[in-house]
Subunit: 305 residues, 2 copies
């Protein structure tokens, strides 16, 4: 185990890959490993990138990775996004955008499966980011779809959160924008060569004027055409400007409080097997018992207080 | 309290509205009320409607409500969707699509806020559906964005799950489709007058041939132009065909097992205040303690086992 941790810290890619899988599977060994590695974390810059499907998040992530590699930085990418091109076997679309990085050991890519899994994605993502941090990755890019609550929570765990918008996606997307407005440290208007970029920027600015952040930061708006690499350097420098301007301490404490809460949720539910819920469900479905009493009873059996 | 439950069961709209708010706020009184009303639930048809932003879910929901009202059925609508036009004050877009129902007491509309809230949305949605069921709503339409994990879980709680797709939204949306493929009982291709509807239907069919469901049901694909009411009756009849064809018992038990699990999660976390997590987070952020030991300790203090 100690050897495993040491190999990871020294940059051994096979040890890291094995650990990443163990963390995703939440094995007991991975928990021990994370405990051991934790003191060596806290060095990486965690960037959350979120936005609606079709906003071009993956392309932006890929281009950010490219730019960071030109600075000779070690990069980690975590995709928590069912629509991401580097997700598992279920993907029909283009994995081509990320293929450029597959042969580069300086870019470590992992996707988190969200489909079918029950809970634990936020906590597992957080653990994976810690692992990559301990393994010496300088920057960790965490891509999520910014619509679900889980995804927004994950984005919140990052040091800096980038919200990616695109012009011309209609009212629905504008509304989502309102939903994730408050978590954005930096806005990126991607596909800025499409009609409506100007108008979208005006709308975001107007919305920002109404919102007042406790840290007094006004989120900048960067226009990009990620598919051609345009604006990516500016986006990165705005990300770093936020990171260097706004005191990290308070942000980090809030992030950790959220992470601890996620971890607690997972740990608490471990005590119950799905089979127990299924057995109780038979009575409830038949209206023999009500669900609220069932929960009381299960709780009473398992814990005091 | 008993009086409150009776008023709800007799169709008193003010009592129902007050109860819906109490359920959303998760007040102790609402839990008592739900316990009392539970034996009178299980009559309503719960339809989950999910899909990417921009797929036209709200329009479809509105048209389904309209069709159900023509049959003189009592309808409940629950929107768990930050982009929904009947969500709260944050919405920039068109609430017009639903306005037609605002003056009709036969359509009871509630939206669940997901933004900023931490957990509990799935459980609260489930409780709200039970309340509407006890209040005599014949059909309950539950709209969610089918990207986040929470949303998918909520969709799963329904008796029938409809996945709404649209042509021409590109690979990202196709990939999402893969993510929610397995929960769809009925597919709706909305905006079917747009180019690419044919191709999308072929793709869904191809994907369905690869997937095999334990209940042997082959999800039908219905084309709609919801904005003009086209295909809505067919969609409803396919929803009913699933409901009447596939034995409900097993489905319902699985649904209840999931609901019970959600309820347990909420109940377990109630024991911890966010302030406790924040206090521990200070030590963790400073690397004085590791998060895994913090969780162990908090758990040890609060519970045995």
């Amino acid at each position: 185990m100690e050897n495993w941790a040491q190999r990871i810290r020294s940059g051994d890619l096979r040890a890291l890959a094995r650990a990443a899988t163990a963390v995703e599977d939440r094995t007991p060994a991975s928990q021990e490993l994370l405990r051991e590695l934790f003191p060596y974390t806290g060095r990486a810059l965690n960037i959350g990138i979120t936005g609606a499907p079709g906003a071009g998040k993956s392309t932006l992530v890929s281009q950010l990775a490219r730019t960071l590699r030109l600075e000779d930085l070690q990069v980690g990418i975590i995709a928590v996004d069912p629509s991401s091109p580097y997700s598992g076997g279920a993907i029909l679309g283009d994995r081509i955008r990320m293929q450029v990085h597959y042969s580069d050991p300086g870019v470590f890519i992992r996707s988190m499966a969200t489909r079918g899994s029950l809970g634990g994605v936020a906590a597992a993502t957080s653990d994976l980011a810690l692992l990559l941090d301990a393994a010496g990755r300088d920057v960790i890019l965490i891509e999520t779809v910014g619509v679900g609550q889980d995804e927004v929570e994950i984005a919140r765990l990052a040091d800096v959160t980038v919200v990616v918008l695109v012009p011309g996606m209609g009212d629905d997307v504008q509304a989502i924008k309102a939903g994730i407005m408050e978590i954005a440290d930096v806005f990126v208007i991607n596909k800025a060569d499409h009609p409506g970029a100007e108008r979208l920027e005006r709308e975001v600015k107007a919305a920002l004027e109404l919102a007042r952040r406790p840290d007094e930061w006004t989120p900048p708006i960067v226009r990009t055409v990620a598919s051609e690499g345009q604006g990516v350097t500016e986006a990165l420098s705005e990300i770093r400007r936020f990171y260097n301007t706004v005191p990290r301490s308070r942000r980090t404490i809030e992030n950790w409080a959220l992470r601890l809460r996620e971890m607690m949720k997972d740990r608490l539910l471990e005590r119950f097997s799905f089979e127990e819920f299924r057995a109780a469900a038979r009575d409830v479905a038949a209206r023999r018992r009500d669900p609220y009493s069932v929960i009381d009873e299960l709780l009473g059996e398992r814990t005091r207080n």
